[in-house]
C-alpha cells in the first residue's frame, strides 16, 4: 500500500529565515546546478567539502535539523545496498577478506562516493522543499519555463494546474488507501493467484477511484469557471516574484564555491 514515511520528504516548514525569503527561481537554479556538480565530484574529499557548504546553507535555513535528517530514513535501504554493491563488486586491492567476500580499496571509495551522493542529494532536496512552499516552487518553475512559450507550450496553465494539484494529490492518495481497505473488507481479494480473478478485483478498485477523482475534478472545474478562469487573456499575481541584489550575490557566491571545490580539492 502507500507508505507514509515518504511523505516526510516534501514537507514545507514555515519560517522567516533568509532561505525562506530567497526567490524560488534562484533556489531551483542553484539546486539544479548543484545536482549536476554533485555527479561530477569523484573523490570523498570533494564530497566532504560540499557537505561543509551544505551545513552553511542548513544553518541559514533555520529549520529543525532533525526534520531534515528524518528524510534520510526513506533512502536508508538504497544507500546501504549501493554501498555494499560498490564495496564488494569493484575489483582492486583487497584490504578486507571474510569467507567469500572481498572488500577492495577502490570499492570502498566508490561505495562512499556513490552512497554519499544519494545522501547529500536527499538533504539538498529536503532543504529546498522545507524552505519553499509548494506554490512558490510552482511559480518559480513557471517563470523558469517561460522560454518554452515560444514552442506554444501553455506554461501559465501548466503552473496553475501544478499548484492546484499539489493540494489535490495527497487528498486523493489518502482516499484511495481507504478505498483499498474498504474493498478488502468487503471481500475483494488482491492476493489471489489466478490472473483473471485478480484483474477483476482491480476493476473493483478502479471504478470507484475514477468516480471519485472525476467527481472532485468536476466540482473544481465548476469552481474555476464561476471564478471566470480563462475569460481573460492575462492573469496577474497577488505576490509577484522579484530577485534582490543580496539574494543574487549569495546564490552566485555559493555556486562559485561549489565549483571551486571541484578544482581546488585534490581528486
Amino acid at each position: 500500500m502507500i507508505d507514509d514515511k515518504a511523505m516526510a520528504i516534501g514537507q514545507y516548514i514555515p519560517g522567516r529565515s533568509f532561505l525562506h525569503k530567497l526567490d524560488p527561481r534562484l533556489k531551483i537554479l542553484t539546486v539544479i546546478i548543484w545536482t549536476l556538480l554533485l555527479f561530477s565530484y569523484t573523490s570523498g574529499w570533494e564530497l566532504l567539502a560540499f557537505c561543509a557548504l551544505l551545513l552553511i546553507v542548513l544553518a541559514a535555513a533555520r529549520v529543525p535539523v532533525f526534520s531534515i535528517l528524518k528524510s534520510l530514513k526513506v533512502v536508508t535501504v538504497i544507500v546501504v545496498v549501493t554501498f555494499m554493491m560498490q564495496a564488494l563488486l569493484t575489483p582492486g586491492k583487497v584490504i578486507f577478506h571474510w569467507a567469500f567476500l572481498n572488500v577492495t580499496d577502490s570499492g570502498l571509495s566508490n561505495g562512499i562516493i556513490y552512497s554519499g551522493r544519494i545522501l547529500v542529494l536527499v538533504v539538498l532536496l529536503s532543504i529546498l522543499t522545507a524552505t519553499t512552499p509548494p506554490i512558490g516552487l510552482a511559480d518559480g518553475m513557471e517563470s523558469l519555463l517561460r522560454p518554452l512559450k515560444a514552442l506554444k507550450v501553455p506554461v501559465g496553465r501548466v503552473a496553475t494546474l501544478i499548484s492546484i494539484i499539489l493540494m489535490f494529490i495527497p487528498d486523493i492518495l489518502e482516499q484511495s488507501r481507504k478505498l483499498i481497505r474498504s474493498q478488502a473488507a468487503k471481500g475483494a481479494d488482491f492476493d489471489s493467484w489466478n490472473l483473471p480473478g485478480r484483474l477483476k478485483n482491480i476493476t473493483f478498485l478502479l471504478t470507484p477511484l475514477f468516480v471519485k477523482v472525476f467527481y472532485r475534478a468536476d466540482a473544481l472545474g465548476t469552481a474555476m469557471y464561476s471564478r471566470c478562469y480563462g475569460s481573460a487573456e492575462k492573469r496577474t499575481r497577488l505576490h509577484p516574484l522579484k530577485i534582490g541584489l543580496w539574494e543574487t550575490a549569495a546564490a552566485v557566491a555559493l555556486t562559485a564555491l561549489s565549483i571551486i571545490i571541484k578544482y581546488v580539492i585534490p581528486g
Binding site: M1, I9, L121, I162, V213, A217, M224
Partner: protein, 217 residues
C-alpha cells in the same frame, strides 16, 4: 456539439445548461479538469502499490495510456507534464525513492518519466488518426493498437536514457549498455504492460460508451 474538437469525452453534465454563455471558458475548464484528473490518477498509480503476490502491481502505465486514449495527444501529454511538475515541486509522487525532486529526472529511471509524456502523446495521436481516418468512435481494437504504440514509445525513451546512464556510470560501450538496459529495463515488463494496454483499451471504450450514454440522457 460536434465530435471534432473536444477530445475529453466524459462530459460531466449537459454543458450548455450548466455553463451558460461563455463556452470558451467552459471548454477550457472542462479540458483542464480532465488533464488534472489524469495527472492525479498518474500520481495515485505510481504510489499505490497493490500488494499482489508474485510481483507488486502498479497502475501507472495503465493511467498514462488511458490519458492518451481519452484526452488525446496534446492534453494527454500535458497531464503527464503536470504529473512530473508536481513531483519536481516536491510532492512525493514518483514510483521509487526519493519519490520527488529534480534529481529523480536525472536518475536512471528519469527517462521513463519523459517516456510517460511521449507515451501518452503517441497513444493519443494514434487514436486521433484512427478517428479522422475511419471517421467514427474508435473500437476496442483501435484502442489496443494505440495503447501498444504508446507502450513502445514509452519504453524506447526509458531504455535510451537508461543506456545513457549506464554508459556514464559504468564506462562500458554504448551498445553494451543498450543491451543491459534492454535486459533490465524492458524485458521484465513486456507481458504485464501489454496486458495493461489491453486493459486500458477496455476501460477507454467503456468510458466512451458511458460518456455517450450520459450525454444522451
Amino acid at each position: 456539439m460536434k465530435h471534432q474538437k473536444r477530445w475529453f469525452e466524459i462530459p460531466s453534465r449537459n454543458e450548455s445548461e450548466v455553463y451558460g454563455a461563455d463556452l470558451r471558458s467552459a471548454r477550457l475548464v472542462t479540458s483542464l479538469t480532465g488533464v488534472m484528473a489524469f495527472a492525479t490518477l498518474s500520481a495515485v498509480g505510481a504510489r499505490l502499490i497493490i500488494d499482489t503476490k508474485p510481483v507488486p502491481f502498479t497502475l501507472q502505465v495503465f493511467f498514462v495510456l488511458l490519458a492518451g486514449m481519452l484526452l488525446g495527444s496534446k492534453l494527454g501529454a500535458l497531464s503527464q507534464v503536470i504529473y512530473i511538475g508536481a513531483g519536481v515541486a516536491g510532492i512525493p509522487v514518483f514510483a521509487a525513492p526519493p519519490f520527488a525532486g529534480i534529481g529523480y529526472l536525472a536518475g536512471p529511471t528519469g527517462g521513463y518519466l519523459i517516456g510517460f509524456v511521449l507515451g501518452a502523446f503517441v497513444t493519443g495521436l494514434v487514436v486521433e488518426k484512427f478517428m479522422t481516418l475511419k471517421n467514427r468512435v474508435p473500437s476496442l481494437v483501435m484502442y489496443t493498437i494505440s495503447g501498444l504504440a504508446g507502450v513502445t514509445a514509452l519504453y524506447a525513451t526509458g531504455m535510451s536514457w537508461l543506456a545513457v546512464w549506464i554508459t556514464a556510470v559504468k564506462h562500458n560501450g554504448f551498445s553494451n549498455s543498450l543491451a543491459l538496459a534492454w535486459k533490465t529495463g524492458v524485458v521484465p515488463f513486456i507481458l504485464v504492460d501489454t496486458l495493461k494496454a489491453a486493459g486500458a483499451a477496455i476501460f477507454a471504450s467503456g468510458a466512451r460508451l458511458a460518456g455517450a450514454r450520459f450525454a444522451r440522457s
